[in-house]
C-alpha cells in the first residue's frame, strides 16, 4: 500500500467542493451571528465550528445552551442530529478499508454531508486508493474552510451584511445540488422519494429524528427494489 498523496486528485476534490464551500459560507455566517446574539462566548462558538464541524447540530446546541437547557439534553440532541454521520461512515467504509490507518482516522473528522456525497460519487469512477483519499482530503478540507471562514465572519462582522440579501435558501439549495446527482438508478430513486415522504410525515418527531428515521426507511424501501428480480436496476 503506497502512502503517496495525489496532488491532482486533491485539486479535483477542492474543485468539486467549490460551489458547495461558497454555500457553506453564508450558512457559517448565519451560525456566527446566532452565536453573537446568544449568551455563549464567541470564542466557544468559533471553537465549535472546529470541534463539531456540523452546522445543524451546532445551531441546535447554541440555542439550547442559550435557553438554559440541561447540559445532557443539549449534548444528546446535538448528537442525535449527527447520528446520520454513522450512515455515511458505513457508506464510505468499503473504500476506506484501502486507506492507511492514520488516513482513516484523520479523514473521518472531515466527513460532512457534502464531503461524503462528493466522495461517494467520486468512488464510482475512481478505484485508485491514493487518488480516492486525496480527493476526500481536498473536498473535505475545502468545504470545511467555507464553514470556518463563514463562522468567523459571522461572529466578528455579521452586522455588516445587508438584511435584504436573503441567503436562507442557500442551504436547501446546497443539499438539492447533492441529492439529485446521488440518485443514479431506480433503487436510489425509490430510497430518495420514500425518505422525502417519511421526513415530512415525521415532522412532529423531536430533535430532527424525522431525518434519521426517513433515511433508514428510505434505504429499506430502496433495498426492496434492488431485490425484486422483475425490476431492472442498473
Amino acid at each position: 500500500m503506497s502512502t503517496g498523496l495525489r496532488r491532482d486528485a486533491v485539486l479535483a476534490g477542492a474543485k468539486a467542493a467549490t460551489a458547495l464551500a461558497v454555500a457553506a459560507f453564508p450558512f457559517g455566517v448565519v451560525y456566527g451571528v446566532t452565536v453573537v446574539e446568544s449568551s455563549v462566548d464567541r470564542w466557544v462558538g468559533i471553537a465549535a465550528s472546529w470541534l463539531i464541524l456540523a452546522g445543524a447540530a451546532q445551531l441546535s446546541l447554541i440555542s439550547l445552551i442559550d435557553d438554559g437547557s440541561a447540559w445532557y439534553l443539549a449534548v444528546l440532541t446535538a448528537l442525535v442530529i449527527n447520528a446520520r454521520f454513522a450512515l455515511y461512515s458505513t457508506a464510505v467504509a468499503p473504500a476506506f478499508r484501502e486507506f492507511p490507518a492514520r488516513w482513516r482516522v484523520g479523514l473521518a473528522y472531515l466527513r460532512t454531508d457534502l464531503a461524503a456525497a462528493l466522495s461517494l460519487a467520486r468512488f464510482d469512477t475512481d478505484s485508485d486508493p491514493d487518488s480516492r483519499r486525496s480527493f476526500v482530503l481536498g473536498a473535505g478540507l475545502f468545504f470545511a474552510s467555507g464553514w470556518w471562514v463563514g463562522t468567523v465572519v459571522g461572529v466578528f462582522g455579521g452586522a455588516v451584511i445587508p438584511d435584504e440579501l436573503d441567503l436562507s435558501f442557500a442551504v436547501p439549495a446546497m443539499f438539492i445540488a447533492l441529492a439529485v446527482p446521488a440518485v443514479t438508478d431506480r433503487p436510489a430513486l425509490v430510497a430518495a422519494l420514500v425518505a422525502v415522504v417519511v421526513a415530512v410525515a415525521g415532522a412532529p418527531l423531536p430533535n430532527g429524528l424525522n431525518v434519521v428515521v426517513a433515511a433508514v426507511v428510505g434505504i429499506a424501501a430502496g433495498r426492496l427494489v434492488v431485490r425484486s428480480p422483475e425490476v431492472p436496476s442498473s
Binding site: A173, V180, A182
Partner: protein, 103 residues
C-alpha cells in the same frame, strides 16, 4: 456544565460517530455485493430527507413557502440536467430573490 465543555463533548461524540463504521470495516472482510447495493442507497436517502426537512418542516410542523417549493423544483431540474452545484444553487437563489421582489 459550562458551554465550552458541552461543545467539547459534542465534538468528541460527533467524531466517534463519524469514525464508527470506518474502524469496524478495517477489521472485516470486504463487503458482499448485496451489502454494497444497500450502502449505495445511504447518500440519496439521507440527502433527500434533509432536503424535505429543510423545505417544509419547521418546529415540528409543516410550513410550505410557495417560492421555496418552486425554487426547489427548478433547482432540482437544473441539478438533474447539468449536474452542477453552481448552476443549481445559483438558479435556486435567483428564483427565491425574484419571487421575494415580486411579492
Amino acid at each position: 456544565m459550562s458551554p465550552a465543555v458541552q461543545v467539547l463533548l459534542v465534538g468528541v461524540g460527533t467524531y466517534l460517530i463519524r469514525l464508527s463504521a470506518i474502524v469496524a470495516a478495517g477489521r472485516l472482510p470486504p463487503p458482499a455485493p448485496s451489502t454494497v447495493a444497500t450502502l449505495r442507497l445511504i447518500a440519496p436517502a439521507v440527502l433527500a430527507a434533509i432536503v424535505a426537512d429543510q423545505l417544509v418542516v419547521s418546529d415540528g410542523g409543516i410550513e410550505v413557502e410557495a417560492s421555496w417549493i418552486v425554487a426547489a423544483v427548478l433547482a432540482g431540474l437544473a441539478a438533474w440536467r447539468w449536474r452542477s452545484a453552481a448552476i443549481t444553487m445559483g438558479l435556486g437563489l435567483a428564483v427565491v430573490w425574484i419571487a421575494d421582489a415580486l411579492t
